[in-house]
Symmetry: C2
Amino acid sequence: MKRNTWQREAVRTALTGTEGFVSAQVLHSHLRDTGSSIGLATVYRALASLEETGEVDALQQDGESLYRACTQGTHHHHLICRNCGTTVEISADPVEQWARQVAAEHGFTQANHVVDVFGLCAACTALAAAGGQVAEPGRVT
Amino acid sequence: MKRNTWQREAVRTALTGTEGFVSAQVLHSHLRDTGSSIGLATVYRALASLEETGEVDALQQDGESLYRACTQGTHHHHLICRNCGTTVEISADPVEQWARQVAAEHGFTQANHVVDVFGLCAACTALAAAGGQVAEPGRVT
DNA sequence: TGCTAAACGATAATCATTGTCAAAAAGGGT
DNA sequence: ACCCTTTTTGACAATGATTATCGTTTAGCA
Ligand SMILES: [Zn+2]
Ligand SMILES: [Zn+2]
Ligand SMILES: [Zn+2]
Ligand SMILES: [Zn+2]
């Protein structure tokens, strides 16, 4: 059976206390900085496990996995500031339907989808307008 | 200025002759198998360059970048068989609008989006039904 | 045909992630 | 509380994709 360790709980808590998406490495650093002695491999394992149970959401950016403890228990997507990481959870029923339909139309089954919107949040937009340095837009896929 | 080398052309050609998305490594193998002496680093460079110019599309799966020479010159998305790689290019105006609106509603600017649909194509669905082994559905993001 | 900056290619380096395995500890039963 | 079995941990090695290096090659041009 699955056991409850303080390590798993520490990861859960650390993630809940983080606004945006974070990498395993960064989360591990935060944990260490706050005095935890948790190992890096354990953070990876905990995140993978929490993702499986659906407790946390994951996405890939620049070839690395980022995790976030979302408040919505149901399926949803994300609007993410590519500069500061601020994340908004968004429902997208029209997109859900569209995805289902497009797959069906072409005879595809067991369809799932990856849908994320990246941009500059209001704050970072203002910052950029004031001459601040912000991340470049990535490629649209 | 940007130069035209047979290496870049070889990558372009190899990619055009490939139906689905392929990794740099796999493309390099194909090229070598067909007698080319092109180097791996060069394949990576050519793909990155071709992606910049918009000649090829890229997406990330399982932490690796996959590339494809798409026929549509305009912005579009993909329906991809997670088992055999068969890819269908799809226009998604409703999704484009939705993405724009959702970003605007939350004060986000310079928005772009990642939208991909994965599934099992008709052929692979039949194969699976016949007891064949196919890839598992990944996590939905 | 020469020049020069861009492109190559072999290989070393990087970096996130996973595998290994002995030691630690959670859970359940006594 | 104690013991036993099995899971989980953590330090570290290994992997695998991608990038950096750097001396050599070559495209584009006068
Ligand atoms: Zn921001
Ligand atoms: Zn969805
Ligand atoms: Zn298929
Ligand atoms: Zn689009």
